[in-house]
């Protein structure tokens, strides 16, 4: 069952602020008026460079960070107005996987203990069944049951991340929020975890919010992509449209910066400058200071969201070049 809009998760005008404790009382807006929908069975990628606010957005959805304003709707219902019971059920339905499995797995618990904890916490199944469920999750992520007594330090990086995924899966969630889940892994191991995530989507109908700075990873698994810069979504849309015909100059810069593993391909192009500090964001378009295509309006006025592809595809961009 999904909300009235057919979306599993809807983020509406979300704002996340940090109090920057320094000489003066000052606040930093990490997420600025972000709206995003995740449909059932879709892998939604959230792409951005460090400091863009992507992790803040992910953590705010998980309610690990307070929301300054805006809403997070799960199956159409505002999580802020849910009662305890509803929130508990919702939490069971939204699970998380983080970048560094060694940091998110307790070094003193073996694989089986790690998998049993969420089952015990949510009192899922009879105690006797829980071990069976845990073993089932191990099988789903392609780990041998023989590893169940191992501790995290006895596993490889790829195996640890599979355990993290298995732990997220035992509560039978609908949505997994994965923050840079393959960034600490070697490329061949990355490729196998990516394959596993696609398989989970296809077999279990799971949705993912896949947070990543790596567009070459995103290209291999995302159904939809959102590009974040300085707290704002500058472009959103189906992966094929957004990566095939990137509409925002920043998205084009990001794509052109990736070194392609082919010596005959053109070398990466260099974008001038660095992202400005979120403490002192520029007026107008967030990207105008570095934009190779800027026009006079870009410094003066923040662009509205505009449709970037033919009607029928939901490909949107915040750029004056599309709104002349």
């Amino acid at each position: 069952m999904t909300g009235a809009t057919g979306q599993l998760l809807s983020v509406r005008h979300l704002v996340v602020r940090y109090d920057a404790s320094g000489s003066r009382r000052q606040s930093l807006t990490a997420v600025r008026n972000v709206s995003l929908d995740i449909a059932p069975g879709r892998i939604q990628a959230l792409v951005g460079e460090s400091g863009s606010g992507k992790t803040s957005l992910a953590r705010a959805i998980l309610r690990l960070l307070p929301i300054a304003s805006g809403q997070v709707l799960f199956r159409g219902q505002d999580m802020a107005t849910m009662d305890r019971r509803q929130l508990r059920t919702t939490r069971r339905s939204i699970q998380a996987v983080f970048q560094d499995p060694l940091a998110s797995l307790s070094p003193r618990r073996n694989v089986m203990q790690a998998l049993l904890e969420p089952l015990d916490h949510f009192r899922i199944g009879l105690a006797a069944e829980r071990e069976q469920r845990a073993l089932g999750a191990l099988e789903t992520v392609g780990l041998d049951a023989g590893l169940r007594h191992r501790y995290p330090h006895e596993l490889s990086g790829g195996q640890r991340q599979r355990v993290s995924l298995a732990r997220a899966l035992v509560t039978e969630p609908d949505l997994i929020i994965a923050d840079e889940p393959v960034s600490s892994l070697d490329v061949p191991v990355q490729a196998r975890i990516i394959e596993l995530i696609r398989e989970l989507r296809d077999r279990l109908g799971l949705s993912f919010l896949f947070v990543s700075h790596d567009l070459s990873v995103v290209r291999r698994l995302a159904d939809d992509v959102a590009v974040m810069y300085l707290g704002q979504l500058v472009e959103t849309g189906p992966a094929a449209n957004l990566l095939g015909q990137p509409a925002h100059p920043y998205t084009r810069c990001l794509l052109a910066s990736i070194p392609v593993p082919d010596p005959d391909h053109a070398p990466p192009s260099v974008v001038a400058g660095e992202a400005p500090s979120a403490l002192t964001p520029p007026g107008g378009c967030v990207f105008h200071m570095r934009c190779p295509e800027r026009i006079a309006r870009c410094a003066a006025e923040m662009p509205e969201e505009t449709r970037a592809s033919a009607p029928g595809t939901d490909h949107r961009v915040r750029c004056h070049l599309w709104n002349r």
Partner: protein, 266 residues
């Protein structure tokens, strides 16, 4: 292009000090780095690529393990025969190194300018004022629009990309014959990576510095390197010109790495 500036024969690094549990993390590695080239050393984590670099720089402490080689020659000098005091003069001047994390190379309590000027004073014998001017010149060459501001900044006041550019300025200050760059952009964002690698290869090209570029990223190998060494379990399994490596990898492991990088499943 064809004279080896750095010649390595049968380099091995054994960690664990000869006990039963000791392991050869680098196991009989031989290669030549030619003058002015960019040579990639590619492999997955734990393959021994960083330990190879540390051994070349004489940075593996005796308490941690032992380094053996039949030859470790820089130009005409046999590094194996040199005492530590002579090696110290060579490091930073003839051979310099850039690590993945710039904060490990920068001292948090000194301004960036002091640390950069120090390289000129120590290795080139410049006076305080001359060293400052040389530092400014070097910072503008790594793309800083306001080198004075960077000189006055402490490392924590700079972004990751700016810090790595300061480290590159330090490493290239003496126009070394060899630069060993160990995953120099792995901690940086992709747009910053493109800036830093462009500056690094430009500076090295102008100074005639040969680069040993250690990376796990085959995109970087394809775009910035002339030749590549593929390393696995402490050994070089393939050595080839980059174009040849991508056109037809000879070793199945290289083929797996390429397939994974291109988006298939190895």
């Amino acid at each position: 292009m064809s004279t080896p500036i750095l010649s390595v024969r049968e380099l091995s690094v054994t960690l664990g000090g000869g006990r039963a549990s000791s392991t050869n993390v680098v196991d009989g590695v031989s290669f030549d780095l030619l003058a002015g080239e960019v040579l990639a050393l590619v492999g997955e984590s734990g393959c021994g690529k960083s330990k190879t670099a540390e051994a070349l720089m004489g940075l593996v402490p005796a308490s941690l393990g032992s380094v053996r080689a039949r030859r470790l020659r820089l130009g005409e000098k046999e590094l194996l025969d040199l005492p530590e005091s002579a090696l110290r003069r060579i490091r930073g001047r003839d051979v310099s190194m850039v690590f993945q994390e710039p904060l490990t190379a920068l001292d948090p309590v000194f301004r960036a300018g002091v640390q950069l000027a120090d390289v000129f004073r120590r290795h080139r014998g410049l006076g305080r004022q001359q060293a400052r001017l040389a530092a400014i010149e070097m910072l503008s060459r790594v793309g800083f629009a306001d080198p004075d501001l960077v000189l006055r900044s402490y490392p924590h006041e700079l972004s990751g990309g700016m810090r790595q550019r300061v480290v590159i300025a330090m490493a290239m200050a003496c126009r070394p014959q060899v630069l060993i760059a160990d995953e120099p952009t792995s901690a940086l964002d992709v747009t910053t990576q493109a800036q830093v690698l462009a500056q690094l290869t430009d500076l090295a090209g102008a100074a005639g510095t040969a680069i040993l570029l250690i990376t796990h990223d085959l995109g970087i190998v394809a775009q910035y390197c002339d030749r590549a060494l593929v390393m696995r379990h402490g050994r070089i399994v393939e050595e080839a010109a980059v174009r040849q490596l991508f056109a037809g990898p000879a070793h199945p492991y290289t083929a797996d790495l390429l397939a994974a990088a291109r988006g298939g499943v190895a």
